[in-house]
């Protein structure tokens, strides 16, 4: 029973355009959400996070949007660059509950085409 779902296994975007990666969750107790990027043969790298008290968080070219009523979050990358080509994982946890680890989605492979 997947609590965090990334329904698009892959996404292709042209360089300079916007990339939008989506994530849905089922556990209404989740209150901390993160995005990670992963290159081959490396560990996942933290990108950006958002807590449930916010609906948007920006960091440079990366913006995460949270829609709690829809249990949906998205990551926007503007403008997309070839170096953004990687697998992106969405993750969530019940941080308010204490010792609850992150639950990850299955990932979306983003390809940015020059």
């Amino acid at each position: 029973d997947q609590q965090v779902k990334q329904n698009s296994p892959s996404l292709s975007v042209q360089e300079g355009r916007i990339s939008i990666l989506n994530c849905d969750y089922t556990n209404s107790m989740f209150d901390y959400f993160l995005w990670y990027k992963k290159y081959p043969a490396e560990g996942p790298t933290f990108l950006i996070s958002i807590s449930s008290i916010k609906d948007k968080n920006e960091d440079g070219r990366f913006t995460v949007f949270l829609n709690k009523s829809a249990k949906h979050l998205s990551l926007h990358i503007v403008p997309s660059q070839p170096g953004d080509s990687a697998v992106y994982f969405c993750a969530a946890s019940e941080a308010h509950s204490g010792n609850t680890p992150l639950v990850f989605g299955k990932g979306t492979r983003l390809s940015v085409i020059a």
Partner: protein
Amino acid sequence: DAGITQSPRHKVTETGTPVTLRCHQTENHRYMYWYRQDPGHGLRLIHYSYGVKDTDKGEVSDGYSVSRSKTEDFLLTLESATSSQTSVYFCAISASVDSPLHFGNGTRLTVT
């Protein structure tokens, strides 16, 4: 890599043999985690630790045990390796439950 070292980086072993993977951190973080990554499954939690000698099971803990006798080291043991445990194993650390996890570079384990 946030001061995380996983060893070995690659290992090939035979079915039925015991295997221990090591995660060492230099950040003095309280929380440590073991995940495995498999095609079509993303990252799945095996075990985690919230302090020395304090550990708990994750989603896919069967066939694995862990130990944390020091803050800096978190060991993952496969008592009797099976082919289904062929995977890439990632260790992660975090300072608190509401701070990001930082991952090591992984151990690729092949069980033949």
